[in-house]
Symmetry: C2
Subunit: 150 residues, 2 copies
DNA sequence: GTTAATTATATCGTTCACGATGCAAATATA
DNA sequence: TATATTTGCATCGTGAACGATATAATTAAC
């Protein structure tokens, strides 16, 4: 008999991992129409909120390392979605700015958040309970971000 | 002003994506000691529950495609954790079985589930509330698995 | 004002994910 | 029993993630 703690059904990690993958898959048809991937869409969310940010700020916002974000931004630059220019104040920084194409994508993707909201709503996840889910996930994220070791 | 639905803070997807990545990172030091990655650990969870399964069953259990699982299993075979042998009944199948090394890993990883449990517990996620979180994630997963389109 | 330490970004190598495609074995159909 | 379809697994190409390492610019220390 398998110990309870080793059963796949009892793993929080597997649920998060699967939910994350499946929701990314759900985004795929919506984003691929505009030639975007899901992490690229996240970059756009960050830049739509505040344009012209250094690589580091974008990475921090997405909780990613720069060695993940840099190639991502390079691909998006090649697609003409954004530009990467040397910082004037600090020559080490690369300032990432949206092109007009990048800005216009927001209108073209206007219905994506609503589509995804509907795709995810179900018996236990409703506008009423979503805040609880958000709080739990935020707590887990913060706990894992700030833990020194396990 | 940025529309509410486009703010990173209002995205369920980003929370799931971040939580999943961070929890995988938390597993890393525990698993890397035994030369394992996180998806490889998931494969072991499946095989510890039931040894000698075809590739397809493992993939279905993990909600992954065989083109993801196959190379993963090939690497684990190279590490001597499992064997891949042709099915006797159905020659198309590859039966994946644990080696003694693969079986012994369960003892060496005995404290991992507990370590991860502690790493994740926080104010809003406790043994009391975890079932609610599990149910919500399961509902989201099932909804996304069974939706025809969005 | 040199030298040392830090910071911002990039490069490299490995492992996933996953769409697209290929191939051989098994099954269904004519 | 030929032929067509389906099924199980593998290969290939692309885009993440991420640890390790490198490089250049800035700042701190002496």
């Amino acid at each position: 008999m398998v110990k309870e703690e080793f059963k796949l059904e009892n793993q929080l990690c597997f649920r998060l991992y699967s939910a994350s993958r499946l929701i990314t898959q759900a985004y795929h048809p919506l984003l691929t129409k505009q030639g975007l991937t899901y992490p690229q869409y996240l970059v756009l969310l960050v830049l739509w909120e505040k344009d012209a940010q250094p690589v580091n700020d974008i990475a921090k916002r997405l909780l990613l390392e720069t060695n993940t974000v840099t190639p991502l931004l390079q691909r998006m630059e090649k697609e003409g979605i954004l530009t990467r220019t040397k910082g004037e104040k600090d020559a080490r920084q690369i300032i990432v700015s949206l092109t007009s194409k990048g800005k216009k994508l927001q209108e073209k993707l206007a219905d994506v958040p609503f589509s995804m909201g509907e795709a995810v709503m179900c018996d236990s996840v409703t506008p009423d309970t979503a805040p609880d889910l958000f709080r739990m996930l935020d707590d887990i994220i913060n706990r894992l971000l700030h833990k020194t070791d396990i």
